[in-house]
């Protein structure tokens, strides 16, 4: 393929990399931890700092998350939609310019290699798609795309760009101060691009918290300016990876590497919605035979939400039991600041996945009890277009 990425340069970097807002985070007393090869802020210091405070602030106001560790890619050229459809199960051909979809990079056996957001950013006659993939998997994803995309398709790694997520019920109000008129143009899963102080900005109304909000791609050179402009507003405070994780867990959203792996199929994971109607009819995506059979016949296990009794949280790896028999495993778990009790995502035998089913968990040798509950744990509050499904 005609890529602008050196295929020799797709291995994991050895030196720890530094994100555009590294100094900005440290100046705000962020506790930095290494994630996906980068020092990342897990939580901030001072008034309003701390995972629970940042979580609650985001649910009530607006949190600003630096997610520049994620991989930002473009795939372009005549036939780009068809080429992507050979690698993921979405109806990319039907994705209109300015529309965003959740999709999955699938392996030959139907296992999930990564989950991603894809936006049609085509202008004129040249098809172009913008993908955001997970930080920890981006190097593998790039290698996979390099290997499988045909020669006439161009893959670009936008590693000179930052990605900020502004999330919460006051995100639109905050965005209006910095990018007037943009929020009004967008419903959930819609995107637009424009110029700001000489920089090419892309804004999608999407996120990973269950709240209304925006994901903003911009040149790394402008990241501090935008972060300062947003955090100068009364509604906005910086929030770290800790709150991002507890927010996405309450929203029932899976985390790659934990709730999803290359051994997980989309049907068991509850991501059947990512397999478009036309693709179900036509197939032609990796693992289609296996996945279509699972859609028809059902799966042995499914991803469920568990509400735990008591206050002790079950963590990833905790066994799920019905009496003495192990019937599943927790893949993410923690205390829900919004609900004030522990919650977990787990894969359990499909026969025991009905809402209201009582199960036990073995958490570090301690037995905890839990009930299967509907996902999300905390209702999504997306700014949907009335009558639209997305």
């Amino acid at each position: 393929m005609n890529h602008t990425i050196d295929p020799e340069d797709t291995s994991d970097p050895i030196e720890p990399l530094v994100l555009p807002l590294d100094a900005w985070h440290r100046a705000r007393g962020a506790r930095m931890v290494e994630f996906a090869g980068y020092p990342m802020p897990v939580q901030f210091a001072g008034e309003g700092g701390g995972i629970i405070a940042e979580h609650v602030w985001t649910r009530q106001n607006a949190g600003l998350f630096d997610v520049s560790h994620m991989g930002q890619l473009t795939v372009s050229g005549a036939g780009a939609a068809e080429a992507l459809e050979a690698l993921l199960p979405g109806d990319i051909s039907a994705l209109k310019p300015g529309r965003v979809r959740y999709s999955l990079l699938l392996g030959e056996d139907g296992g999930i290699l990564d989950d991603l957001m894809i936006t049609n950013i085509s202008q004129g006659d040249n098809p172009e798609y913008y993908l955001v993939v997970n930080g920890a998997t981006k190097w593998d994803d790039i290698a996979h795309l390099c290997e499988h995309l045909p020669d006439e398709i161009t893959l670009n790694h936008l590693d000179d760009r930052a990605l900020l997520a502004l999330q919460g019920p006051r995100a639109a109000e905050a965005l209006e101060h910095v990018f007037p008129g943009v929020a009004d143009q967008l419903h959930f899963m819609q995107a637009t691009g424009f110029d700001w102080e000489g920089a090419a900005i892309g804004v999608a109304r999407s996120g990973y918290t269950g709240e209304d909000g925006f994901e903003i791609t911009l040149p790394a050179s402008h990241a501090e300016r935008l972060a300062d402009a947003l955090c100068a507003l009364e509604a906005v405070r910086p929030a770290g990876l800790g709150a991002r994780d507890s927010l996405r867990l309450e929203a029932g959203l899976p985390l790659y590497g934990h709730d999803l792996t290359d051994h997980t199929d989309p049907v068991s994971a509850g991501l059947g919605f990512a397999i478009s109607k036309r693709r179900r009819a036509d197939g032609g995506f990796p693992g289609a035979e296996q996945i279509l059979k699972l859609l028809a016949d059902g799966t042995a296990a499914v991803r469920v939400g568990l509400a735990l009794d008591g206050r002790m949280a079950a963590r990833e790896g905790a066994g799920v039991f019905a009496g003495d028999e192990q019937v599943g495993q927790v893949t993410s778990g923690g205390f829900s600041p919004s609900l004030q009790h522990p919650i977990a995502l787990a894969y359990v035998d499909s026969a025991l996945a009905a809402l209201g089913t009582r199960l036990e968990l073995d958490n570090r040798g301690r037995r905890l009890t839990a009930t299967v509950v509907a996902l999300p744990f905390v209702a999504h509050r997306y700014h949907r277009q009335s009558g639209a499904n997305t």
């Binding site: 939580q43 206050r311 949280a313 963590r315 923690g334 205390f335 570090r364």
Partner: protein, 123 residues
């Protein structure tokens, strides 16, 4: 009364043959928001380095080890309703449990305040 510290960031305040145990302010800061504390049963016999309590934070669960051998004589019931006391008041009101010392000589292997502060400064 004398206060000693462990490398695992517990403190023990000793009065007579009774020690009151908690985690240090440094430890609570590292753990972040504490959401649950599992306290030991009374009369339980414990050994140095034995996991006696669990402090659950938003991020992770952490064991709290007994600094000494002895018998658990009390646990801080206030933490059941207010685990965040360990964040706000780690070295006083956020104490976890009391232990009747079986072998006070074990205290000689622990750090005093100055040694602990130097230890933390080097982390």
């Amino acid at each position: 009364m004398t206060r000693f510290f462990t490398k695992d960031h517990e403190w023990i305040e000793v009065a007579g043959d009774s020690g009151t145990v908690g985690i240090t302010d440094y430890a609570q800061g590292q753990l972040g928001d504490i959401t649950f504390v599992e306290l030991p049963e009374l009369s339980r016999l414990v050994a140095p380095g034995e996991s006696v309590a669990v402090v659950d934070s938003v991020k992770a669960a952490s064991d709290v080890f007994s600094p000494v051998s002895g018998t658990i004589s009390d646990a801080n019931g206030a933490l059941e309703g207010e685990p965040e006391l360990v964040n706000s008041d780690a070295e006083t009101g956020g104490w976890l449990f009391r232990v009747v010392l079986a072998n006070p000589e074990e205290l000689g292997g622990l750090m005093d305040k100055a040694a602990y502060d130097a230890y933390v400064a080097g982390l």
